[in-house]
Symmetry: C2
Subunit: 324 residues, 2 copies
DNA sequence: TTGTAAGCGTTATCAT
DNA sequence: ATGATAACGCTTACAA
């Protein structure tokens, strides 16, 4: 049998209440008692049952994290930081990969509520606004403005888009393309596109916009899009890709075509993923560590009953490297 | 207040036992009753409390996953698959990033036990053998043979090492290097090195072995090691890197030095990560999906009281691509 | 300073 | 077929 608080109580010869007090360091306790209890715990190798605690306290110290795909470097990195700060604050993390599957996302949300998690960080969203509003749990989204009541943490997408586009203009590109994953999926990343358009319109420059309608993260499938782009527009000399992974695909394709980078083609990515192969890529770096930290702290604020600002927009940084 | 089984019972006019029965579909229940209960649940928007269930059933339906770093593509990908199969079997996943920090790993193990998880998948190991043996919980390790009682899932590291090395020999390399992260950390990956040595010894070929003593995943710090290697041995014409990330670093450095790949230098990586930039890399692919699947199923076996084989070694595959 | 007892929301064991 | 009631392991008023 597993050792419980009751066994400790019997061994020491006090009530369970007292043991619980020692455990939580509440109330007045003689040092002698404390010591005896500690010893008994050691001896019996006692471990508190967090499930029982959660039930009793109505608090689980668990956060749910719902993202599309943990194997995507952007989410992998941000998750790393979220875990770091959650752990630091005494919270565990339940990992939920939605794969942008509506049913799975919904099931996970229900599962998280049923599991009495103390808060949810959403980096995925495929359901209707009302369904998120109905969650009634501390909630924060990553890079997604779902409604004007659900707090979100993002980086400055518009500025990122502007920085990237301006760089290409400054480098005297004559015909530039904006490439992105599905725009619908991510409202805020759409601002990169808006910024691109604002920079490009009215300028003496040709431009092309392309987006996948993949509702997924099948990076492999970026390839045909990129190939097609260059077939239709072989004279493109600048590309702003809305993710580093996409940018890498472009670089790969242009190598195949024998286009020299940056001489004949300049490429700017987005995210700032720290992965071999992306290290020479000029890109817009999102402050992933800060984003993770703030996502956690927005949740903690809500749990603590504090006011939480609707928007938390963090600055991005242009990393000018080898591909421009 | 939150709706409980009791509220449903009152509304329907039966006992909580009956509601619980409906919930778990146990025993004999009239269809009429079932329907009425279902309706009441819908109406009151009832959600079972998993914490209470776990306490009562002594089963949480949660697995703990301890890995060094979720932002490393290898672990990101394998985690994706683990999550997939866990979910499919009704288990949630608690994500624990150890950062190869002994204290954190130990704390997490305790936390997982306290949280009554039903099993642990360990992809990290920094503690002493006995400490793992003392876990007394369904356990499976990834790519780590800790003792001969703890089941592990891995791919065939020796064969992977042999395949990679043989390829370089077949391609007529004259001087090849084996590069790896810290060998101590990962007993099984060490077999890649053994295989390398077995292939290379007694052949008419020069070879060099280098390993970081980084006890971490600071990929950035691979750079100096790689640079140094080429300074000391500018005549190397083949490299077997024990991870794709390391291989990418080598490719990067050789570009800088103006060495042509594969003409002047051939590079073989390891892992088969699916990341832009690694797509042209010749590498040894680990069957990550199968590994994730089997890690989960080994845990399920243990939970089900079945015999679990000590070792599960899956085949690797040589992907011959652009860098050889 | 310590103890009694109720309560957290479910499940499980007997009854009936 | 359905119900009482104890039990899961812990916390927390309220007492003493």
């Amino acid at each position: 049998m597993v050792v419980t608080i009751k066994d400790i109580a019997e061994k020491v010869g006090v009530s369970v209440t007292t043991i619980s007090r020692v455990l939580n360091n509440r109330g007045y306790l003689s040092d002698n008692l404390k010591k005896k209890v500690q010893e008994a715990m050691e001896e019996l190798n006692y471990q508190p049952n967090e499930v029982a605690r959660s039930l009793s306290r109505k608090k689980s110290n668990v956060f749910g994290l719902i993202i599309p795909d943990i194997s995507h470097p952007f989410f992998g990195q941000i998750t790393k930081h979220i875990e770091y700060y959650a752990y630091k604050n005494g919270y565990k993390l339940m990992l939920c990969n939605s794969l942008l599957n509506k049913k799975k996302e919904k099931e996970y949300i229900e599962l998280l509520r049923a599991s009495q998690v103390d808060g949810i960080i959403m980096g995925s969203h495929t359901m209707k606004v009302e369904e998120y509003m109905a969650i009634k749990l501390p909630l924060v989204t990553l890079d997604r403005r779902i409604s004007d009541t659900i707090p979100y943490v993002s980086s400055d997408n518009y500025r990122g888009g502007a920085l990237a586009t301006k760089l290409l203009l400054r480098k005297r590109c004559k015909k530039i393309a904006y490439l992105s994953g599905s725009l619908q999926l991510n409202l805020l990343a759409k601002q990169r596109h808006d910024a691109f358009m604002d920079q490009v319109r009215g300028q003496q420059i040709e431009y092309v916009v392309r987006q996948t309608d993949l509702n997924g993260f099948k990076y492999r499938e970026y390839e045909p899009m990129v190939r097609e782009l260059f077939q239709e527009h072989p004279d493109i000399d600048g590309v702003f890709a809305s993710s580093d992974l996409l940018a890498l695909q472009i670089i790969r394709e242009s190598r195949r075509l024998g286009k020299l980078i940056p001489e004949e083609l300049k490429v700017v990515g987005y995210d700032g993923i720290q992965i071999g192969g992306a290290e020479d890529l000029t890109t817009i770096e999102q402050p992933m560590q800060e984003m993770g930290k703030l996502a956690v702290s927005r949740l903690l604020q809500q749990i603590g009953g504090e006011e939480t600002p609707l928007e938390t927009v963090l600055p991005v940084k242009l990393l000018e490297r080898g591909t421009t």
